[in-house]
């Protein structure tokens, strides 16, 4: 009985590892993966991470500064936009395991050349 359980556990473990590997991953988050899934999945593995999860490492005000735009593009800053200020949660535009588009693109033909992993 015990060996069966161990075997089961091994198979199960392998499945989980495989499913994690099969997913999209961002190379620059490698160190986060090393710390385990729950580093980001703070609400359990079956739920989306909370909107505070990314903010453990990232700071919205800093991001807003990094993506700052000038002149008539000033309010197209995706991290500090005219419509949503600095309040748009990361996952509205970014996906760790799935490609996504900035929500601005629902209505606008903006160019965000540095945006990674865009869903075409």
């Amino acid at each position: 009985m015990k060996t069966v359980n161990t075997l089961l556990l091994l198979v199960l473990g392998a499945c989980i590892a495989l499913s994690a590997q099969a997913r999209d991953k961002r190379d620059y988050h490698e160190m986060v993966y090393d710390s385990g899934c729950k580093t980001c999945h703070d609400q359990g593995m079956k739920a989306f991470p909370s909107d505070n999860s990314c903010l453990q490492c990232h700071d919205m005000a800093e991001l807003a500064e990094q993506t700052k735009r000038e002149g008539d593009e000033a309010r197209q800053n995706p991290h500090d936009s005219m419509h949503y200020g600095q309040e748009a949660p990361c996952m509205e535009c970014h996906g760790e395991h799935t490609p996504k588009k900035a929500i601005c693109m629902d209505c606008h033909n903006f160019k965000y050349p540095k945006f990674k992993y865009e869903h075409k």
């Binding site: 909107d51 008539d72 419509h83 606008h108 903006f110």
Partner: protein, 500 residues
């Protein structure tokens, strides 16, 4: 699974009613396990919801919560040109514009084609100057210039400097929070919770909801001590729902709405026996461009330029409508512009650059390939394959109308374009309507109370305001007339709830 579990949690006292059984929860209050309780529960963070939150805060409510389904606040209310028609404001007086609530209502009744509610329109128009001041008190900043929108007999569309609804939403959100209003994203309204006599006790909410992932998050029961305001907006983004009501509005028709405009609040209220009205009156925006998604920049460009520009059919090279007629008149005519095979052949809006450049929308449409500049009529005709002679004649004729102040072709009000001749260089944008606004919705009265279909009486504890309500505008709503109406009935709901 989570829905069923929390449904069962209500115990033996829970009894579902009617044909919509799985959607409704009816129970004795004491049988329900409440996860949260608030004085006022507001569903939706657009104009109606936030105006209600601000007004209730002003009236001294201590515990107000606003639930937003999406990850961002404002819904459709943040995606528009930021205009609001008010009659009889100090700005109109400064600019020498004579106007009145009665005149505004008359304009709206005409566009409503016999279906609008004079009582509800009058209530909204009379609150206009109050709403104008309330938004200014919130920190909204209006332009000094008032703009003309289609179907109006006086210039009354006040516009915030952002030229976007976000110029209302951001300051109102901030003001609401300053009154202690709790605002929560990713909280999707699921159902009303009612007592056996039909009184609304609270709502079920899916907390931690991610749009498009219908099973995400967890169900909680939220008690409303004084009342529930449903301010969830329209259903323009719900293709199967809108197409069932208007077969012409399938997935191939564009839409200006936020993703969340799926009609959840409307459907839940119908399930509770509320009276649906005018659901098939769905409006398309005649100022939209097929060269970008959603509302975009094109709408702002067209809105500014319609009065002094011409809309041209590409087959004939001629005008086909009064460019400032009401929205339905224009959208219905625009969608008829087709090539020989019947495929869409969007009309061209031709604007004079010397006037278009006075509004920032011109730079935006040019920069993002929503409109293009041409040096001559010949260049336009060549690029878009138009009959040159006819187009030249049309533009000459139009300039004569500008001079004489009369448009014998379509009867356009020409005092909006006095002295503004259509001369090169030109800015040209394509026009193709997009689903924009649902005139239909749930019936309300002048207290923002929701009316029951069975009795014609109010449903106790339940209020609705904004696009989710119906019957106000009738067949077609005038531009800039939803924003003030959403806010007026939001304010009204807050007043009613505080009195209840």
């Amino acid at each position: 699974m989570q829905t069923r579990r929390s449904f069962l949690k209500l115990g033996a006292g829970a009894a579902a009613i009617g044909a919509f059984a799985p959607l409704t929860v009816s129970a004795n209050s004491s049988d329900i396990k409440w996860d949260e309780s608030h004085e006022i529960v507001i569903v939706g963070s657009g104009f109606a919801g936030l105006a209600a939150a601000v007004e209730a805060g002003k009236l001294g409510a201590k515990d107000i919560v606003v639930f937003e389904k999406l990850g961002v606040y404002g819904g459709n209310s943040t995606l528009n040109a930021g205009q609001a028609c008010f009659a009889n404001t100090d700005l109109q007086k400064q600019l020498g514009i004579e106007d009145s609530a009665e005149l505004m209502v008359q304009d709206q009744l005409k566009s409503g084609r016999g279906y609008a509610s004079e009582e509800l329109l009058t209530h909204s128009a009379e609150l206009g100057p109050y709403i104008y001041q309330l938004t200014k008190d919130c920190g909204c900043i209006y332009r000094d210039h008032i703009i003309n929108t289609g179907g109006t007999s006086a210039t009354r569309s006040h516009q915030v400097v952002e030229r976007s609804g976000s110029g209302f939403i951001r300051p109102m959100l901030k003001t609401a929070r300053s009154y202690g209003v709790k605002t929560k994203i990713r909280h999707k309204f699921e159902h009303l919770i009612t007592a056996k006599d039909g009184t609304v006790l609270g709502i079920q909410v899916r907390r931690g909801y991610h749009f498009g992932h219908e099973e995400s998050g967890e169900i909680i029961n939220v008690k409303a001590e004084k009342g529930v305001l449903i301010a969830t907006g329209g259903f323009g983004a719900n293709v199967s729902f809108r197409q069932a009501l208007d077969p012409n509005l399938g997935a191939d028709v564009g839409c200006t709405n936020a993703r969340g405009a799926t009609g959840d609040g409307l459907i839940a209220m119908i399930a509770e026996g509320a009276m649906p009205v005018h659901l098939s009156f769905i409006q398309s925006g005649p100022w939209a461009s097929p060269d970008e998604g959603g509302f975009g920049y094109g709408a702002g460009f067209s809105l500014y330029n319609f009065p002094h520009s011409v809309a041209i059919d590409r087959n004939t090279g001629q005008r086909f409508m009064n460019e400032t007629a009401d929205r339905k008149t224009r959208a219905d005519l625009e969608v008829l512009r087709r090539d020989k095979e019947g495929n869409p052949n969007p009309a061209l809006l031709i604007a004079p650059k010397h006037e278009a450049m006075k509004d920032p929308s011109m730079n935006n449409v040019l920069k993002y390939n929503v409109a293009w500049e041409f040096d001559s009529v010949d260049a336009i005709a060549k690029h878009f394959d138009l009959p040159l002679k006819a187009l030249k004649k049309q533009i000459e004729d139009w300039n004569l109308y500008v001079k004489t102040g009369e448009d014998p072709q379509f009867g356009k009000r020409m005092n909006m374009s006095t002295g503004i001749y259509l001369t090169a260089p030109f800015i040209v944008q394509r026009l193709w309507p997009k689903v924009h606004y649902c005139q239909g919705g749930i019936q309300i009265n002048t207290k923002s109370e929701v009316i029951a279909a069975k009795t014609g009486e109010k449903i106790p504890g339940l209020y609705a305001a904004g696009e989710v309500s119906g019957g106000v505008h009738g067949v077609s709503r005038l531009g800039g007339c939803s924003t003030p109406e959403c806010m007026a009935f939001g304010v009204t709901a807050a007043r009613s709830i505080m009195k209840a």
